[in-house]
Subunit: 431 residues, 2 copies
């Protein structure tokens, strides 16, 4: 019987701000970072998890992990396996700590790191990647991983079971298809806001040569600059490829409508994060005014209640949950079911550090168990920092090939952890 004995935390930061990788309208100088946690046990296995941040404040998330840690000590893997939903609910609703959220911000980011580490531990014990562990669950086992509080007005457990049962018989076919062909993706790392035009052109050419057919670019508060850069991107990628634009929360509702409509000529598939991530009604108003451009959001939608409303209000065409922003895979599974009920495709947020690694599991679970569809669905890809993971992801001609190693693909190389530990690692000590 495996028992958790404690949590080790590591403050991992990559100095990406030196190259402006990841720069956008609101985040001008990110240092891609991981609040990295290890569930220590009395056995041979350990569970690895992390939450993504932009650098400063990574230590605050780790302080929240430490605040949650006493709850984890003594928990057995069997307790987690036998009632994953109850395990998550206890973690997310500690009677004093929940005031810090509830279910949002730093405390929820910490909940994600820990609960994802519990999934990693469980999957390693089963000798399966997490996506396959979930794919092998019965509909009843899947539903039992979810905290159903606050969902019943949009989705009941019975409706969820109906959705899952309708897919159950054909799971094996989709699993074989994924292992053969991979999951479709789009690329973001050509179009960072801080990159000079020539670099964007070169990166587009390289991505086209690698087989990419869907590209995302960042836009900002300068309308003329947005138009110029969209023209440049469209010129490079041609009319056949998909182009998406991402405002990263830069605009008021009225500005969003004006700025997006100025980009209609470049036929963007979606406008991402046009305004405050909390503004469900604002997204709905923008969506009505910018069609046929779709509205996408979710990387800052902090819990299942926000996604429930984005769907109820018909505010989005593409749902972009983040496996670290939500409180980990348990809550992701709830949102996958909500999206299926409302018929909205899921295109998980990825990039940063570790998010592509997590996102591939999420998209595979969506396709194999929940939606059964690839229509309108793509997983984000950005080509940064994958070399630091023990089981690196594998992208071939614009598709993610399913990971096959046991766990959640998030365990990092010892040398990478040491090099990027803040502030003592080699990356951070002036040479």
């Amino acid at each position: 019987m495996t028992r958790i004995t404690g949590i080790t935390t590591i403050d991992v930061r990559a100095p990406t701000s030196r190259t402006l990788a990841g720069s956008d309208a609101m985040h001008t100088d990110p240092d891609y970072s991981a609040a990295y946690v290890v569930l220590e046990t009395d056995g041979d296995l350990r569970g690895h998890g992390m939450t993504f941040t932009l650098g400063r404040g990574n230590e605050v998330v780790l302080a929240a992990v430490k605040a949650l840690a006493p709850q984890m000590v003594g928990v057995t893997l069997d307790e987690i396996r036998n009632d994953m939903g109850a395990f998550w609910r206890r973690l997310a609703n500690e009677s004093q700590l929940r005031w810090l959220g509830p279910e949002k911000g730093v405390i929820h980011l910490a909940t994600a790191a820990i609960s994802n580490a519990a999934w990693d531990l469980w999957a390693k014990a089963e000798g399966k990647p997490v996506w396959d562990l979930v794919a092998d669950m019965t509909p009843e086992e899947f539903v039992a991983c979810i905290d159903w509080r606050y969902l019943s007005d949009a989705l009941t457990q019975d409706e969820a079971l109906d959705i899952l049962r309708a897919r159950a018989a054909t799971k094996a076919t989709r699993k074989a298809e994924m292992l053969r062909d991979g999951y479709p993706a789009y690329i973001t790392s050509a179009g960072w806001l801080g990159y000079p035009d020539e670099k964007v052109r070169r990166l587009c050419k390289e991505a086209l040569a690698d087989g990419w057919t869907a590209f995302k670019m960042k836009v900002g508060r300068d309308n003329a600059d947005n138009v110029r850069r969209a023209a440049l991107m469209r010129e490079e990628i041609g009319d056949e490829c998909l182009l998406m634009v991402d405002a990263n929360q830069a605009w008021d509702v009225g500005e969003a409508i004006e700025y997006v409509n100025a980009l209609q000529q470049f036929k963007p598939l979606w406008i991402e994060e046009p305004t405050s991530p909390d503004d469900v009604l604002g997204h709905a108003a923008i969506r009505r005014a910018v069609a046929p451009v779709g509205v996408a959001t979710g990387e800052h939608a902090h819990n299942r209640v926000m996604f429930k409303q984005l769907l109820q209000a018909e505010a989005i065409d593409f749902l972009q949950m983040d496996n670290c922003r939500l409180g980990g895979l348990n809550e992701v599974m709830a949102v996958l079911l909500l999206a299926a009920k409302f018929g909205v495709p899921v295109c998980p947020h990825a990039g940063g550090i570790g998010l592509c690694e997590y996102g591939q599991h999420v998209s595979l679970i969506d396709y194999i168990c929940v939606s059964g569809s690839l229509d309108g669905r793509m997983l984000e890809f950005a080509d940064h920092l994958h070399e630091h993971f023990i089981n690196p992801l594998f992208v071939r001609k614009g598709r993610y090939m399913p990971p096959t190693s046991p766990g959640f693909s998030i365990e990092m190389l010892p040398d990478s952890l040491e090099t990027m530990t803040y502030p003592t690692g080699r990356e951070w000590v002036p040479s």
Copy 2:
């Protein structure tokens, strides 16, 4: 010229869980705590601020304060005074730290503590209480304290100026009225969920004798128990007094409708926090189904965008912002204007530690500058821990008498700080 030289942080916790003061359906054992900050300066004045928490996790908020602190070092009081809105926006939108929110959870609680300390510093420099500092502002100065991002679809700056100008000529009359009569309040501390019936009866009798005419009680997930306790409260306070009930997020939307309607016979004025604080559309659905009982929420509504939507969706009858949950007084001022535009009365959340001290300033600003009305408006009062403040609040016959000492009324006694410092103070060291 006063310049900020650094921030001192103190982890202040009161062991209230020992008596179950503050207990409710979701928070069974709170230790009322303050993440307490002091803006140190090169002059004679210091700015004091705090954010309320329930104990565990107070240290996480202080870690976030420390992460924000480098931004504050070197800032002058004149810079704050000359553009309070820009000061707040810089603080709330630090390019890496904003990922931890944005504008929600731990990082926003920390923003509140710091920005409220800046208000305290400014008011002390003027020799006025904060409410009076704001009451003396022109409409233009008031509007300049606000970060207007994300508001223009519901409230423009011109509309805000119109609201404020309509009240400007009569501010002196309302100020004199407040200094004479005080601001109306209601009492919560008789009806905590964990209190035995006899204690509730005794506290109701004592509160009635002290002149209270409005009472709030906690309800939970046991319908029969809710009915029994509401009957008890109504029996004690009689038919003339107001009774409010507070579910503290315990229910799904459908449950809320069922449980509130079971209490209709006791004629509650409002149901508070019937479901997830993030569920704007859920509150609107509940409101439509439980009238004439009103819906109240806000102590966990984390920013102006959430309140904007609660108002746009006609989800609430009473708006209960919290001066620490929002990012401090700057954002409170934005929400006061939104509430006035939509005609919804503001009844600030208070209680805990320090929240009554803050709330009295908020309600006075609302009445004197913004709404000009007491109709449907009451400030919460709970009789806990006021003795620890240097300028204790003064409640007379169920009304808050306006504070007259300079600042934000939040500076605590040195001995109280020492006694309650966690984990080294006398309250926390086993004797």
